[in-house]
Amino acid sequence: MKDRAELVIIGGGVVGLSLAYHLARLGMTDVAVLEQRFLCYGASGRNGGGVRQQWSTEDHIRLAKQSVKHFRRLAKETQYNIWFRQGGYLFLARDAETAAFLEKNAKLQNSYKIPTRVLPPSEAKRIVPDLNTDGIEVCAYNPTDGVLFPWPALWGMAKYVSKRGVEINTYTQVLGLDIQGGRINAVVTNKGRIATRRVVNAAGAWSSQIARMAGLELPNKPYRHEILVSEPLKPFLDPMVSDLKTGTYFSQTMRGEILGGISDPLEPSSMYTGSSFRFLARMCASMSKIMPRLAGVKVLRQWAGYYDETPDGQPVLGQVGEVDGFVQMNGFGGHGFMLAPAIGEITAKWLLRKSDHEVFCKYNLDRFSKGEIQKETFVIG
């Protein structure tokens, strides 16, 4: 491991690697990425790979749109097939309030040229013939949303940056930050010390623990989210289907599996990633109600990962707190993967002082003390 770097990124997940990737594209490669275990260990290797542009805030819509552009060319640039398939997202509303929510969001998304349409159930059935439309008021469908396979996306970015001189250190745990006079001197790890002036905290579920090493309290809390995967089937399901009443979502991967999860309003914050029978039962009941044909499909495996959640469903970004050079890129909840390409690009340009961006004001931590919160309410899973 090198003993000095221009920038140290804590976290080898999609957020940290996306930053390293965009920095490398801009010519900055004196960067060390520290991953506590192996690549794909955290939420970046455990998520459902959904990439949607249907959001309720302008920022998320714009960032997601920018990310889709990146995902479309990521395979070519990294020479790794990330299995990105734009089969759309179909959201189901079961009451008038949710229907109005989808209508309002669709208008906002349309103003950013996202082609979302609100459809009656009969039209949704043309897109998903096996959909049980009982009790569905309307659906919102955007054909340019999609799904990808998270693992090769990470491998691709990791290889791209490694080839250009970025050092990715796996099984490297951060033990502390050496801070003097309000400035960062070094990062202390189980493999030694790296002298640096700038550190990015992209540690996902562990970001609050890392921040505490600099005396910074983040409002982020980790929550377990479970997910399951079925046996592979012949392709028959184009979009990701999501029921907003239960927070259920599922899609068919490029490998043919049905993969999805469900919200559990009772789930407390924890660092536990065991599997529960409760999830299995609730998810299976919900998915077979939405699409009765799935009742006969066999489940292969269930697993769990974390959402690194903030009180308003939006990330913490930029220079936060008293320590100069300590930058946050965390709190992405369940949508870190889909926003990472855009956030990585914006943050890379900001770090290199090529361009500023309003997200570094808006998503600073002081929004909670100033009360300037614009809550993202379109959150599932």
Binding site: R37, F38, L39, C40, Y41, G45, W151, W155, K159, T170, Y171, N190, K191, R224, S230, E231, P232, D264, L266, E267, P268, S269, S270, M271, Y272, T273, G274, S275, S276, F277, R278, L280, A281, R282, M283, C284, A285, M287, S288, K289, L294, A295, G296, V297, K298, V299, L300, R301, Q302, W303
Partner: protein, 112 residues
């Protein structure tokens, strides 16, 4: 055994695939699984995990840190959605009292 020897029948991973992944730097059970896809198919590792452990053991000269198995998760056997859909709403187990990440895989250079 030749390069085309199948290690994982579900996901069609050959010995050559393992060799190439190893060269790329994927040198423990968890990383190899994610890179090659072994143990992600119908058998969930029941048929292939031992072969991969043997491969890594030979490569590392018997280092048991790199051959610890990947995390075991439900289901034991592929089971239809309908079987679980009838189970109602099982009670929530208080996970906050459980130790964080109890089944942490012991791989790679953890002991350092």
């Amino acid at each position: 055994m030749g390069a085309k020897t199948l290690v994982c029948r579900c996901e069609d991973v050959s010995l050559l695939d393992l060799e190439e992944a190893y060269k790329e730097g994927f040198r423990d059970m968890e990383s190899l699984k994610r890179y090659t896809g072994y143990a992600t198919g119908f058998c969930q590792g029941k048929g292939c995990q031992a072969h991969v452990a043997r491969f890594l053991s030979q490569k590392s000269g018997g280092d048991d840190k790199v051959t610890n198995p990947t995390r075991t998760r439900p289901l034991l056997h592929p089971t239809p959605v309908a079987m679980f859909a009838r189970a109602g709403e099982p009670e929530l187990i208080d996970v906050t009292r459980l130790e964080a990440d109890t089944q942490k895989p012991q791989t790679g250079e953890d002991a350092e």
